[in-house]
């Protein structure tokens, strides 16, 4: 991995400040702490201006990729987000979601290539809402922005991605998400074969990126394939292929770029453990899966429960202990105001080999 250099050729322009922020449907539900962490890091730690308009909606990308939302509709929805941005006086859009990022990029390219579709979209939006919009000057994914500021984060770091006991760098596998750079390789840092957006953060913050044979393989999200229950075997089989491939490299954690990938690489580990009894981490447990904001948050000394890490299906405590994070295990399921928010049942993926031998879970 040290020899990966192609990212230097695939560089894109990332705005330095004044972002209009758009959220992810999946993350608001499954990793809500990550989006808040992004805002806190940007505003609090980095002193940047990030504006959010509560009226912005889903980009409808999941519906689009599931053949439910037509192209004309999604173009108009996206145009409405741009209209909110224009009205607020912003020019740089930053998206929390890879699917949305892919959608924004694809639609902007479509408008560039087929200007008549842009005109039709302007007309549809105006008829429906009376709004007009400007094309954003810069579109980035949130991870691009964190990558852009990775050295500043490193300078402000409270912790490094190293094993606190041994001093060895943590071994990290990164997963980029297909729609980050497989649609437009030039729009992703490092291109699609050797993307550097997460690897760059890991390296700047003291960790070691571990390559493995199925690194480039899709997590299996597949939109319509997981939406239909009986088709989920497609999705989980692809995630399993990745787990089996990465397990021999003993990663300390997986860091993800894309909401869907984070969700599936985390939750399918639970599912596979319950369905087949297979786990892929050390000591019979799962491999923790982090968003890049959670990774940045830990480095900057955020409390893991404030980052929302209690929402993970694979427990993160073994990783926190390894990193030497100062946290209170007993407050894991206490909400913001100290109120118990409920705890999940014990799951196979979080049991050690010894627990399983004595059937502690059941």
């Amino acid at each position: 991995m040290q020899k990966r250099y192609s990212w230097k050729e695939f560089q894109k322009e990332i705005a330095d400040d004044h972002y209009f922020y758009v959220r992810s449907c999946i993350r608001q539900n499954f990793f809500p702490g990550s989006e808040q962490a992004f805002l806190n890091i940007m505003r609090g730690d980095l002193g940047k201006d990030v504006f959010e308009d509560a009226r912005h909606t889903s980009c409808t990308g999941i519906g689009y990729h599931s053949d439910i939302v037509p192209l004309e509709t999604i173009m108009t929805v996206v145009a409405r987000q741009f209209a909110l941005m224009t009205e607020a006086g912003y020019e740089n859009l930053t998206s929390s979601c890879i699917t949305s990022f892919g959608i924004y990029t694809e639609i902007l390219e479509t408008w560039r290539e087929f200007p008549e579709t842009l005109e039709r979209t302007r007309e549809s939006l105006y008829k429906a809402t009376g709004r007009t919009f400007e094309i954003p000057k810069n579109v980035s994914h949130n991870s691009d922005v964190i990558f852009h500021n990775r050295e500043q984060i490193a300078a402000q770091a409270k912790l490094k991605l190293v094993n606190a006991l041994t001093g060895e760098p943590l071994r990290v596998v990164e997963h980029i998400g297909c729609h980050y750079a497989k649609i437009f390789p030039s729009k992703g840092i490092g291109g699609s074969e050797f993307p550097y957006v997460l690897a760059g953060m890991v390296e700047s913050w003291g960790g070691e990126v571990v390559d493995y044979p199925e690194r480039r393989h899709c997590c299996g999200f597949g939109f319509r394939n997981y939406l239909v229950q009986s088709n989920r075997g497609y999705s989980v089989a692809n995630s399993r292929k990745k787990f089996e491939s990465m397990a021999p490299y003993k990663p300390d954690f997986i860091v993800c770029n894309c909401p869907g990938c984070t969700m599936f690489l985390d939750k399918w580990q639970y599912t596979l453990a319950e369905m087949e009894g297979s786990t892929y981490g050390p000591d019979g447990r799962g491999i923790p899966v982090l968003t890049y904001e959670e990774m940045a948050g830990l480095v900057l000394g955020y409390d893991p429960w404030a980052l929302g890490m209690q929402m993970h299906q694979v427990d993160v405590e073994p990783l926190l202990d390894k990193m030497g994070v100062d946290y209170d295990p007993s407050s894991k399921y206490l909400g913001k105001k100290g109120k118990f928010i409920g705890a999940p049942e014990v799951a196979t993926v979080n049991c050690s080999a010894v627990d399983k031998f004595y059937r502690i879970k059941r």
């Binding site: 020899k3 250099y5 050797f194 493995y212 199925e214």
Partner: protein, 333 residues
């Protein structure tokens, strides 16, 4: 009469020898400090494993014996009607033969194969170099057991603007596979191909002997990606298109059969003369038949891979043909 020859590879050398034989006064202008071009880096030649030096050295000896003028380490900057402009000044001549050859495809452009990133992914040119050095080994010095060759790297591939077939890589892949079998008798060798284009004399026979006598496995399908595996191995994915199923395997060494791309100086020739290039950026000869060594200008001629991928034998033939054409042209002056 004085004739400038741009490029001192096999085509340039043979053109010079032939022109000298016809009583003219050729001068070879070579940008590198040694003559021989790409052939210098090659170990053996298909289809009968002729050592490359057995072809090149007698030619160089003749060149010396006949005292043909060579300007090495000299770059041609422009072709003009009365000669060429070089990095060492103007060389006047009545005709110019462009023998500037081809470039090897840069395998790093096919990022998915990890050339330059993964230790044991090498090119066909690297393998020839290893054979010339007398040692073929993995990065850690050990012997490869499982070896895969991938055909058409930088050929028939619009993603890297190489639409053309490089012609010689199929037979090179077969030749190198047989050589690997000789170096490593107990290895497993796989060639991944889309078509096997055995156009030359003895080529098809060589292909058959690779299959039957040397036990080389041919799998029809293009490798889609190579990924690193512990211990320096490489995992490859392809479709076995003859059975319609994806296939994956781990190999110790992946050899990329890199194609021929148009020489980088071609655009310079176009700019200074108004000559034209084909879609693949090779120089376009006057026509594909009777004028295949002539250009659109009466005093500029072509020989060898400047116009398209060719074998050594074909380049030598073109060199002789170009010399005849030049001589006929000089008669008319």
């Amino acid at each position: 009469m004085k004739v400038t020859i741009i490029g001192g590879g096999v085509a340039g050398i043979q053109t010079a020898l032939a022109l000298k034989g016809l009583g003219h006064d050729p001068v070879i202008i070579e940008k590198e400090d040694t003559l021989g071009g790409k052939l210098r880096g090659w170990h053996r030649l298909f289809p009968v494993m002729t050592p490359a030096r057995d072809v090149l050295e007698p030619m160089l000896k003749q060149l010396r014996d006949q005292q043909i003028e060579v300007m090495a380490s000299t770059e041609v900057q422009a072709i003009e009607s009365d000669g060429v402009v070089t990095s060492r000044g103007k060389v006047e001549s009545r005709a110019t033969v462009v023998c500037s050859g081809f470039d090897l495809f840069d395998a790093t452009l096919k990022e998915e194969y990890g050339y330059g990133i993964y230790d044991n992914v090498i090119t066909s040119a690297d393998l020839e170099q290893m054979m010339n050095n007398g040692k073929i080994a993995l990065a850690d010095g050990t012997q490869p057991h499982r070896i895969a060759f991938l055909h058409c790297v930088g050929s028939r591939d619009e993603k890297v603007q190489q639409r053309h077939c490089s012609k010689v890589c199929c037979v090179t892949g077969v030749k190198q596979a047989i050589e690997m079998r000789r170096w490593f008798p107990h290895s497993e060798i796989y060639n991944f191909y889309m078509d096997i284009r055995m156009f030359g004399p003895g080529y098809e026979e060589m292909y058959r002997s690779a299959q039957q006598e040397h036990g080389i496995q041919f799998i029809r399908g293009r490798i889609s990606e190579a990924a690193p595996v512990k211990g320096g191995k490489v995992q490859i994915k392809a479709e076995d298109t003859l059975v319609g199923r994806p296939l994956k395997m781990t190999v110790d060494m992946l050899v990329l059969l890199i194609g021929m791309t148009a020489g980088c100086s071609n655009s310079r020739w176009t700019e200074c003369t108004g000559l034209s290039q084909s879609d693949s950026h090779f120089m376009r000869p006057l026509d594909m038949f009777e004028g295949n060594v002539r250009s659109e200008l009466p005093n500029v001629f072509y020989a060898g891979t400047v116009t398209s991928p060719k074998t050594i034998g074909e380049s030598l033939n073109e060199a002789n043909a170009a010399a005849m054409r030049v001589a006929a042209y000089l008669e008319t002056l």
